[in-house]
Symmetry: C2
Subunit: 518 residues, 2 copies
């Protein structure tokens, strides 16, 4: 009977082929993950679809790497096995959910027959519950597709991938071993998945645009503040065009660093409440209108909720709603609003106070000792960066220090400020560097990670070597191992080590001593 | 007001002190885990309660280590931080749930005030849901204690610890930062937690005992088959006394290996269906009554469900029920039944067919090449073992190979056959060796782990070194990296490396070549 059904299918393909060809179509070239009994047959289809199998050293690292890959390439895929594999990866996937990073997580699971018979299989809790792990992942996925009925699978895969892209968050695809080679309709593959975002309702959008324009035209010294979701929901081009036209001063949050060209005359620096440089805080907090784009106002992104701005002076544009002062507009997405505001703004009504000049990235060194202080280090890092670098900073010291490094043009900042999982950066650097390689771009990936964080995920360096990735790792030691997850910036200074000859200042590598900032 | 309440408490102690003193009382001496913002204050109380802080290199390794510690010491504790930490550990805790290993998992979480205010904190999904991770853990915990109301906390802690011990599975304790130093009644600490198992209902128990005795007395060639839950639910002493009295032949399953003295004349070998040695299979499958104690009849534990025994010839004793042929006795636990059966058995009615002699552990080596084959290797490993060794075998090759190694007296087998998470053994070996050290015992911990598995958790070796643990690691390479999670035993032979001079046979270390078994 299954033969008859197969014959009636147009261009029949196996489920695995369908899935991996879809991943290739949306731009994925490398698939992260680990093999396991319940995904082995599916993995045989990875190379057949033109995809490279990465094979990370463990599932958590693989998830972190998929996160980094998605940030650099737009979207990524992760394959794990039932129970042991997917649960090892779950923290990495949760981080991607938290931080709006789109990962297609494919979990190979026991056959529908084993499940129906309640077999006591390995990688189970021994209680016959085969859905328990998928239920856990439901909390950190914007779609769960359990592929158990061949006639529905193609639609389920397409829907999951679209959700992943549009909502920029992980989806979970549950692939039983006996579904992997089931035949489904391949003719669907001739049409690519529609990944275009739904348009806003035009009347509602026009209404919001009018409100935004009214406030912009009326403001004395408006500023623009760009945050993480401007990057994750892909509106940085819209932001760029808006600034090119309006010449308004632009600031970024810690999570938004890299979203706007820091060499632009319109760029004003990093705003993070009391964590900002004084002139930045003064300018943003003195503004009578902050146009905030893609904000995630979390504790670490706002230096402990220390914004001194008023919601009465704020317009918030988000991927799924907008807020003007206290008026909310659910379902109105920022892209359409930004485009129309750019198009319709009346420059004669716009009052522009230019950005303050960004502080010289390499301040004069007044330190006569051989110690390397954070105050000395981070501004100088900006000198080392080159156009197009991918800069990955670990949670803790580096996440805060990087605020003080100015990026050259087209530098991509990769950081996990909201989820803040220690060790993430090593996997993320692997994934980002692999994406750069897959894109055939000539970019360096530069990783800042401390000793304490590095030990959590250190073996991922072997994957970097295996795939010959261009990663430069800057390693440092902190003085507060107990506070490994803490707000390093608020502690006294730390030590640093780095490769010999990296810096022009010629400080000897062996000279690493501690000195307080104060 | 809180002062008034505190004054009315008898011997007030902080929640953290109460919790950690309870852990000390039940025999825990070392606490595994990693620091994080939401558990830092609690961790300050670890040394104050006489406990050692281990500080593993990442949370998954810490969970694996807590698993190994609990297997060797009876129970263990694991401390992680909210979100990032607990989710990194969740696969290890799920394994402990699956395999009946008692771990008290303490998760430091945001203050009740932050939660009430729905603050956008780091380590959250950014959606204000603070319960999402606890909900995930509920599926792999036999008790969840959310410590949010001081007047209930002492009871909650005691209840969770008791459940953990009695049910021999993980519990989850959720400790908000603002509860850590709340004062609660310390007078309770003067009375230790009652960890005694509930007695069976005497009438029901007597009934089951009568049924068991009737079948035992009537059987021609009964055998005893000891499995994992005999170890985990602590009835190995009862089994020993039962065999000492009855002299019945005893077999163990792969997961039950180590539950019975393999140097005993009553010991017959490892039964695993078609995976058994022929004479073992013949004896067990030819028996007209298999008294099975603490069985977990999973795929890998039964060599792919290949038991050739009939339920009509089987009595199953479990921790929470018994089954005699097809009659079920829920709520009747094996300990009481075993004791009474031992006491009441009528030796004159018992028909004993002795065990077959266990095959010579070191078969003659007929292999002239320099290759090390599995067939050659595993039986010889038994020669290397010493009385009291703790033998940890990784999922895959070692888990299957060890069936063919005979254990000296008091060897503890540590293996994860049901959950089967690759990489687990490295953490588990650390935990088991630390337990041995805490017990001030002079035992070696011997770890068998392949290159592929080792890379997942390799950095845990640094914790072994830091705590100066006595671990001997035997490392090998397999030829089927793609099948890293597979049934290695069914694949052709593998290569081995091992430390120079370990074996008496004098084979050179550098000579590692491949040879097929066939």
């Amino acid at each position: 009977m299954s033969d008859i059904r197969t014959q009636s299918l147009q261009k029949p393909v196996t489920v695995a082929e369908y899935l991996f060809r879809r991943l290739h179509q949306i731009g994925i070239r490398s698939v992260h993950g680990l093999p396991g009994d319940f995904n082995l047959v599916a993995l045989d289809y990875v190379p057949k679809a033109g995809l490279k199998w990465v094979g990370s050293v463990n599932e958590l690292n693989a998830a972190y790497a998929a996160d980094g890959y998605a940030r650099a390439k737009g979207i990524s895929a992760l394959v794990t096995t039932f129970g042991v594999g997917e649960l090892s990866a779950i923290n990495g996937v949760a981080g991607a959910y938290s931080e709006h990073v789109p990962i297609v997580h494919i979990v190979g699971c026991p056959s529908t027959i084993s499940q129906r018979n309640g077999m006591l299989l390995h990688h189970t809790l021994g209680n016959g519950d085969f859905h328990v792990f998928a239920n856990m992942s439901e909390n950190i996925s914007c779609d769960v597709a359990k592929l158990v009925k061949p006639s529905e699978i193609a639609y389920q895969i397409d829907h999951a991938i679209r959700e992943c892209w549009i909502r920029s968050r992980p989806v979970y695809i549950w692939l039983p071993t006996d579904m992997v080679e089931k035949k489904i309709e391949g003719a669907r593959l001739d049409t690519e998945i529609d990944l275009s975002e739904p348009e806003n309702d035009p009347d509602r959008e026009d209404y919001v645009v009018d409100v935004v324009l009214r406030y912009l035209h009326g403001a004395k010294n408006p500023v623009v503040l760009v945050d993480a979701c401007a990057i994750r929901h892909r509106v940085t081009e819209e932001v760029k065009r808006f600034i090119e036209k309006t010449k308004l001063p632009v600031f970024v949050t810690p999570m938004g660093k890299g979203a706007f060209d820091e060499t632009s005359e319109h760029y004003g620096g990093v705003y993070a409440g009391t964590g900002s440089l004084p002139e930045v805080a003064k300018r943003v907090e003195g503004s009578d209108l902050v146009l905030s784009i893609g904000a995630i106002k979390s504790d670490f992104n706002t230096a402990g909720f220390s914004y001194h701005t008023s919601q009465l002076n704020t317009i918030d544009l988000h991927s799924d709603h907008c807020t003007v002062r206290y008026s909310e507009y659910p379902g109105v997405a920022m892209r359409g609003v930004l485009r129309k505001v750019t198009e319709r703004i009346d420059m004669s009504k716009l009052s522009i106070t230019p950005s303050p000049p960004v502080e010289n990235a390499v301040a004069e060194n007044r330190d006569d000792s051989q110690a390397i202080t954070q105050a000395w280090f981070w501004p100088r890092v900006g000198e080392y960066f080159q156009e197009g670098d991918v800069v990955v900073t670990e949670t803790g010291t580096a996440n805060f220090g990087i605020w003080e490094s100015r990026f050259p043009k087209d530098v991509m900042g990769v950081t996990q400020v909201l989820w803040g999982s220690i060790g993430w950066s090593v996997g993320a650097a692997q994934g980002a560097a692999l994406a750069v390689k897959d894109l055939e771009q000539d970019r360096r990936t530069i990783l800042f990670v401390g000793d304490g964080s590095f030990q959590l995920t250190c073996q991922e360096v072997s994957t970097m070597l295996k795939h010959n990735l261009r990663v430069t790792m800057l390693h440092y030691r902190t003085l507060h191992p107990w506070y490994g997850r803490g707000l390093q910036r608020y502690h006294p200074l730390e030590l640093y080590r780095y490769p010999r000859g990296l810096w022009r200042q010629g400080r000897p590598v062996s000279e690493v001593r501690h000195q307080d900032k104060g």
